[in-house]
């Protein structure tokens, strides 16, 4: 029984890191793309959405090729003394990648819904561009972004395929909850599997309920 809490703690750690990275990265990229007027925008958007539709094993393979010791980035990182394959940090990268489109899509829709007139008003009132972002665009997009971030957290928590390929299945080190469930079922340990499945399901339902409360915003307290 006690063994179930180790993969749960690891899953939470990985998912929290992945969510924190996606919060910064997803919001920055979404804001940049929502202001960028170029035909290349749709191509960039499609590439950034790929993790949503590609099989996680394909993503895991790409990551292995890129980050493995023989990969371009991996070899360079190895020189610096950083190895990502078969580490929990590798699992964070896998979880970040698969959950990224969820933050990106939600944030982009939220930024595009902000009335440009309000940003103009802030500029005329003396604000620099960075201040306009932090004082007007970001607070007005905050609800949509939060909903996307919660979905991304749930997705990162359940990540299996890409994680297994890049981080492996080392108990106590890289064995996350979903990987541990698979291992427990394979080993015929139904009690552990059932407990971990229940914990995962409850967590995901709670996150989805929270996201659902935040996502649609039909009666905005603030809107005239």
């Amino acid at each position: 029984m006690g063994a179930a809490w180790i993969p749960l703690a690891l899953s939470l750690k990985v998912a929290l890191w992945a969510t924190a990275i996606n919060l910064v990265l997803g919001v920055a990229v979404a804001f940049g793309l929502s202001r960028w007027r170029s035909p290349a925008r749709d191509v960039v958007d499609a590439v950034l959405t790929l993790p949503l539709v590609l099989p996680p094993t394909v993503l895991g393979y790409y990551l292995l090729v890129l980050l493995g010791r023989r990969g371009r980035v991996g070899a360079w990182l190895h020189e610096l003394g950083v190895d990502l394959v078969f580490t929990w940090q590798g699992a964070v990268i896998a979880a970040t990648l698969v959950a990224f489109p969820l933050v990106h899509k939600a944030a982009r829709a939220a930024f595009e819904a902000v009335d440009p007139q309000l940003e103009s008003a802030a500029r005329v009132l003396g604000l620099r561009e960075a201040a306009v972002f932090f004082r007007v665009s970001l607070p007005l997009a905050a609800r949509g972004i939060t909903a996307g971030v919660l979905l991304a957290f749930a997705r990162a928590l359940g990540e299996f395929g890409a994680t297994l390929m890049i981080a492996g299945n080392l108990p106590g080190r890289t064995q996350t909850l979903s990987v541990a469930i698979y291992t427990a079922v394979q080993a015929g340990d139904d009690r552990s599997a059932a407990l971990m499945v229940a914990v995962t399901s409850v967590t995901c339902v709670a996150v989805l309920l929270l996201a659902g409360r935040l996502a649609p915003d039909p009666v905005r307290r603030m809107r005239p």
Binding site: Q117, A121, R123, V124, L125, P139, R220, P224
Partner: protein, 243 residues
Amino acid sequence: MTVDVALRTTLCADERRFTLDVALRSDHRRIVLFGPSGAGKSLTLRAMAGLIVPEAGHVRVDGRTLFDAGTRVNLPPRQRGLAYVFQDYALFPHLTVAQNIGFGLRGGWLNPSRRGRDARVERWLAAFELAGVADSYPARISGGQRQRVALARALATEPKGLLLDEPFAALDPALRGRMRDELLAMQARLDLQLIVITHDPADVTALEGDTFELCEGRVVGRSRPSSRSWDHGAFPGQRPMAE
């Protein structure tokens, strides 16, 4: 104060081309841009504020060059010393009335706090009779109150000039007259350059300003407050829209 504006710019949107080509120069403290919607009035005002960059021309206010396509001068909106009151007021929906008014008084990345108000904000709240709704959100107050918040927010930054885009269009007729009087009284107190856009001849009469009539992106007429008559002679080849 002299306002000297000459602008040319072309906008394209789905097969439609609109060319704005206006020149106006006036020493009057109240300048009125009058014309039907789509005449280019708002575009002119946005270019003066620095919200769009015209292809050619210049904007000079009180001898200071804010924009000049020839010498590549283009001050950002925050350095132009002009405040802008938008047609729908553009109040920040996530901030209270007091926070909206204090918005421009604070640089940096944080909005004014909900508690602990600036003394200047208190003064503006009192001046525009908004103290009772200071902690309300813009969605919760009346149209007239919204307009006063927009005015107070613009004036709190102590601008040299105030640009107003159809300031009375969203108000009901009874309130319209009162707000016109309030605006004129405020200008008398503050010694402020006003540039007002309107499509309503009643505004033109009440404001008694140096009025430029715009139509399809061009100035087609001018009426100085002393002459009380429209002069279309200086603009050959253009048919006046209204007398």
